[in-house]
Symmetry: C2
Subunit: 228 residues, 2 copies
Amino acid sequence: MEQRTYNQYCATARTLDLVGERWTLLLIRELLTGPKRFGDLQASLRGLGTGLLAARLKHLEREGLAHKITLPPPARTPAYALTEAGEELGPPILELARWGLKWAMGERRETETFHPGWAVLGLRACFDDAAAAGLRAVYEFRIDDEVFHARIDDGTIEALHGPAQHPDATITISQEAFLRLTGQGLTLTEAIETGAASTSGDSEALHRLKGLFRLPPSHPRKADRPAS
Amino acid sequence: MEQRTYNQYCATARTLDLVGERWTLLLIRELLTGPKRFGDLQASLRGLGTGLLAARLKHLEREGLAHKITLPPPARTPAYALTEAGEELGPPILELARWGLKWAMGERRETETFHPGWAVLGLRACFDDAAAAGLRAVYEFRIDDEVFHARIDDGTIEALHGPAQHPDATITISQEAFLRLTGQGLTLTEAIETGAASTSGDSEALHRLKGLFRLPPSHPRKADRPAS
DNA sequence: CGGCATCCATTTTGATACTG
DNA sequence: CAGTATCAAAATGGATGCCG
């Protein structure tokens, strides 16, 4: 069963041969915030059946982009994690996300699903290295029933699923409000003032947090605007 | 005919809804080096039939990523060009190309096609902004029967199909050798020494040219290496 | 040449039922 | 849960044929 290829000696085409099939980049997006189990992956990717998910995971394993692991005790359950090559698809994916933030976001549609992890990735996409120069802090985000943490270290950011070991500050916020932080121009300050978010921990770290992310100016395409 | 969507309120997914279908990103890659005619696009994309090409182009038009233009006299023939939104897919595509250069290139396979324009994009992917600080120069590349030009201006690069207006220097090189400049670690100096390339024009500009591009260290995935 | 329409063989996908 | 097996629906590719 030969797999389909563009048959082009071109770096972009070769990359798309590996990760350009439907669902593949979104699967990697899920794994960018940390290892995930089969069931969690499927729950995040509505419309992707178990058969195709299994096939995609097998493909990623075969190509050395992900591997199957066993979660540490007491879980001991199987999960999937990215390899180094897989992790390095982060920059291209974030670049696609930046484009989307600028040209394709707008309002959430009725039929669209949403998971806090996506907005966490949105934070990474909006992260302003320059503004984080000299800062070293760990933040924990509690969004409805999911927990993430972001480790900022002098211009770099790492954002993963799960609690932080020693957070400098903790932000508790509703999923609803959190998606507006990246999707629309809502600021953390405003979210706190309206009671949608609450914070605790080092107030200096919290103050710095507010300036770390810069949304690209949203610029809907002609096709997105309602016909006149 | 409802178009398929991931139905996720996520910048990456929204982007892939627009450009994630088969051929679409490669089509945009072709247009990144300048407007192209229907026939030229099809010639570059072996395996893409006229029907699907027409459908993809229509989709890009509808979504405001490309538009149909009429080439200036004396050509007067129709062609397709990117809109601003389409142009801005350059960074994500170059990021995918950088990943591919590092993790997926290796030797050219027998069945793979190749076009100089792809390697020109490879140059953009390898461009080192810092090394180009303070440089302002226009280079013309003549690769077999195709001509490109690159305009460098203080850390920025623009690489387009077609001759330059007032090139500071001209590089004539075989397609064969040119693809090794980005695909393998061949340096321009070596290419000249072996007679695969010749240059003319401002020698200072030519000297600066040699330091402008940095290949990522090639790092084949486990799956790429032959089984032991 | 540019571009759409049609027909058809193959793949890919989506959805669901089923097994350890 | 994790993952296979199965089947129907959709997307692709390739070959033409047509029309300005």
